[in-house]
């Protein structure tokens, strides 16, 4: 496997190549560090509920369940073998991906071999699946007591009528009870194959050694005859299915989350990336710490440090969320809506754009101080079809007109929904 330099706007050394089986490999050598961070990701997350055009229904929570089960094979717990190498390991499942990671100091080759081996060598039995159901049920209940999690998924259930993004990533106690070893095997085969995966490493590593280890592993795998997973767009209403969700939880104060459903879907990687970047900049200009709105809401006691505004978008779904703890949720909601309505009418100011450019430049540069950030960033950019540090180039091209267009296109009143958590008995 040949690793070749990938041009990027920060002139960082980033090398990329494909294994003989089609696995994308990205490497960022950082000789000044002592540790190495590795991440092996697959393009399979909680929103993937239908198998690659074959119409097979995938149970809610399956991707997360698979993530748990891959850590156990015929030799026992994989984590123990990483520990024996003085390394740590973990994994995480999101809406559109699952990632397995390790952090190592001196045993990069051995850790890489182990990472590639355990993720690509599944071993599922019904007995072990049953044991894991109990553990994951506890994880689900833990999230049930997390107000941030509850308010977020309460909002997604308002925004989406049927898109799987509305479902808990870990599934429900009922849905995971239906999962068995055969289902895990079936889904594993659909999504865990080299052409649907990406390996990303950053740290004190030798690229040639990485290439050798990867190729040695890949030579033992069968040829990958499956195409990378193409995410289909599930049928979904354009606008929110409901405008409000309220529930009582054991919290000290109310929390409000205003959501805006993305109504512009599809498009190529750059289009999706621009949508994401523009939405985030608009939110930052309107509700960031330096904004007039934040200043006014904070001074009026309607928000505190817990307030945040963010956007998340993929080709098949997207949403903005803004809110936080407040004693006056109705007033806060009105003020957020008013701010957005006024901005839609008046547009954004020019002054914000240059500041945002400097802000993004600083954020990306500082992220380079962490091998973990770099490895995750390269992985995410690969799965989104982007070059490393694409945001830096994109932000240079943006104009105020484009931001104003995005503001009017995305933040439309009929795409709003609200999730509210109140203290029990209030």
């Amino acid at each position: 496997m040949k690793l070749e330099p990938i041009e990027n706007s920060l002139s960082e050394t980033i090398l990329g190549g494909f294994s003989s089986r089609g696995l994308r490999v990205l490497v960022n050598p950082r000789p000044e560090f002592v540790g190495t961070f590795g991440a092996l990701g697959t393009n399979f997350g909680s929103v993937d509920r239908v198998g690659n055009g074959q119409g097979q229904v995938i149970p809610e929570g399956l991707a997360h369940f698979l993530e748990h089960k891959l850590f156990e094979d015929q030799m026992g717990d994989v984590s123990d073998r990483f520990s024996a190498l003085g390394a740590s390991t973990n994994a995480m499942t999101g809406f559109s991906g699952t990632t397995y990671i390790f952090s190592s100091m001196n045993e990069v080759s051995a850790c890489l071999e182990l990472l590639l081996s355990f993720v690509q060598t599944p071993w599922f039995t019904d007995e072990l699946v049953q044991k894991e159901q109990g553990i994951i049920a506890q994880e689900i209940r833990m999230y049930d007591d997390d107000p941030d999690w509850r308010i977020f998924f309460g909002l997604l259930r308002c925004l989406y009528a049927s898109h799987p993004v509305r479902d808990n990533i870990a599934g429900s106690v009922e849905s995971i009870a239906e999962i068995d070893a055969a289902t895990l095997h079936r889904c594993y085969k659909l999504f865990y194959h080299p052409r649907n995966m990406c390996l990303s490493l950053s740290g004190a590593l030798d690229p040639e050694v990485v290439a050798e280890v990867v190729e040695r592993d890949q030579a033992t795998r069968p040829l990958d005859e499956l195409a990378p997973h193409v995410r289909t767009n599930p049928e979904e209403e354009l606008l929110p299915t409901s405008d409000r969700h309220e529930e009582e939880l054991s919290v000290s104060r109310p929390r409000l989350l205003l959501g805006v459903k993305e109504t512009v879907l599809g498009g190529g990687p750059l289009e999706v990336a621009r949508r994401q970047l523009c939405s985030r900049i608009v939110l930052d200009a309107l509700f960031g710490r330096a904004s007039d709105a934040y200043q006014s809401l904070y001074s009026d006691g309607l928000v505190d440090e817990s307030f945040s505004a963010s956007y998340s978008g993929e080709p098949s779904f997207g949403f903005s969320t803004l809110g936080g703890d407040t004693d006056e949720p109705d007033q806060l909601e009105d003020r957020l809506r008013e701010t957005l309505a006024k901005a839609r009418h008046e547009g954004l100011g020019v002054a914000a754009l240059e500041r945002v450019r400097r802000k993004i430049h600083g954020m990306i540069l500082r992220s380079l101080d962490s091998t973990e950030n770099i490895a995750f960033g390269m992985l995410s950019e690969h799965f989104h079809g982007l070059k490393p540090f694409a945001a830096l180039e994109l932000v240079e091209q943006l104009t105020v007109e484009e931001l104003d267009n995005r503001l009017r296109e995305h933040f439309r009143e009929d795409a709003f929904a609200v999730s509210l958590v109140r203290p029990c008995g209030s």
Binding site: V34, S83, R289, G362
Partner: protein, 422 residues
């Protein structure tokens, strides 16, 4: 590339100046750390981080100050308060990209000026804090304290610490009390500010491409007019009070119950690495006994872990589980700790724990924040201040010491938060 370790540069005017001059990182991390006793006046000091970052004389409100940070390439203005043993620690600072990456001239000096303004030049009105700022931050602090109950694992941990260390500074939260926060007067807050900027023992810690001369100039600029005050010596951990083990139970409408068990670590083994290693063997990750037994063998909890707080000689074990399984988890924790004490540590688990700790200590060098935090904790607790020292201490631990620590641990308090949601 300069790559010196983080070390003490000097103590001009009593201010400890620690610098790691390195071009390894693209950012510069500057922390200005001020000490105060935890048991007096902590609420008035706890309001300062948020109050002082509301604005400065030059950037008089949140929007102006935040815009300035963004202009400075998203410089992070740090301001917070924590507790270390019996002391309250106020942390101010900046994290900003190194000068070489700035498109418009040196950045560090501008970020430093901003920090100095935050510390020394708030937007006073007739010599007093702006009443609107003070009113809002009083309320915000009180609400933050009251909201500690919202994070259930953290709440269970806090309640356990309060029960276990009742009547001592070790039980106190660094933010103070909600009622006190609501009642703070301008005079009390002003006095706290005067103390912080003119009397509080201070440490300056910098990691980044900064010369020793720049570091000393930084100390001078941040010090202002300051009485010479040296940071206090490390405090001794508390001894075990003579009393029976306590159990405190509460209920909330939750899906899951939380169990928090507090053990006293043997004072004679402190501040040794053996206590930390024992905690790793017992509940420090996926190789640990509690993970294997509570999660993997019996599927009772998603996680069950322990952590050793050496400052307060406390070992805390925590887990979340169905209410029906609280007692079983409690039994397993006691059983595993007792087994560790009587049968000793197995070779493999000892080896895995040492390796895990070795990695944690070694990779600290890759993180500016990690290096600063480790050194600070070492200085305040009288423990190792460099990863290398800690590694030497780790390698010296014998398996028999793990068993001895476990055998000498005594259960002090248990807190159970029963989840009783339908």
């Amino acid at each position: 590339m300069t790559n010196a370790p983080l070390e003490l540069l000097g103590t001009p005017g009593g201010v400890e100046v620690h610098l790691q001059q390195t071009a390894r990182f693209k950012a510069v991390h500057l922390h200005w750390l001020l000490e105060a006793p935890l048991d007096t006046g902590r609420t008035a000091r706890a309001i300062l981080p948020d109050l002082l970052t509301r604005g400065t004389a030059r950037f008089p409100d949140l929007a102006a100050l935040s815009a300035r940070c963004e202009e400075l390439y998203n410089t992070d203005l740090l301001a917070g308060v924590t507790a270390h043993g019996t002391r309250q620690l106020l942390r101010f600072g900046v994290e900003t990209i190194a000068d070489e990456f700035s498109f418009d001239g040196p950045l560090y000096v501008r970020a430093l000026d901003l920090l100095a303004e935050v510390l020394q030049k708030p937007p006073l009105v007739k010599g007093a804090f702006r009443p609107d700022h003070l009113d809002q931050e009083r309320v915000n602090l009180a609400r933050s304290i009251e909201a500690l109950v919202d994070d259930k694992p953290l709440y269970a941990y806090r309640r356990l610490v309060e029960v276990m260390h009742e009547g001592t500074p070790f039980a106190l939260h660094s933010w103070g009390e909600a009622e006190e926060a609501r009642a703070l007067t301008e005079g009390q807050v002003h006095e706290a500010w005067d103390f912080v900027r003119t009397e509080a023992p201070a440490r300056l810690m910098i990691v980044g491409d900064i010369t020793p001369e720049q570091a000393l100039e930084t100390a001078e600029q941040l010090s202002g007019v300051r009485a010479r005050a040296v940071p206090a010596s490390p405090t001794a951990a508390p001894g075990s009070p003579a009393r029976a083990a306590r159990v405190v139970e509460e209920s909330q409408p939750l899906a899951q119950s939380r169990l928090a068990m507090g053990f006293r670590l043997p004072p004679t083994r402190l501040p040794g690495a053996a206590c930390q290693l024992m905690s790793l063997v017992l509940g420090g990750g996926s190789h640990s006994r509690l993970f294997k037994r509570v999660r993997e063998a019996e599927s009772l909890a998603y996680g069950c872990g322990s952590s050793a707080m050496l400052d307060s000689a406390t070992l805390i074990v925590q887990a979340g589980m169905d209410d029906a399984h609280v007692e079983r988890v409690r039994e397993l924790v006691l059983e595993e700790l007792q087994r560790l004490g009587t049968e000793g540590v197995e070779e493999e688990e000892f080896d895995l724990s040492v390796r895990a700790q070795r990695r944690r200590l070694s990779v600290l060098r890759d993180s500016a924040g990690g290096s600063l935090g480790f050194r600070l904790a070492g200085l305040m607790s009288g423990r190792a201040t460099t990863p290398e020292q800690a590694l030497d201490q780790l390698e010296a631990v014998k398996p028999a010491e793990i068993a001895a620590v476990a055998a000498e641990c005594t259960l002090d308090s248990t807190f159970v938060l029963h989840g009783n949601a339908e």
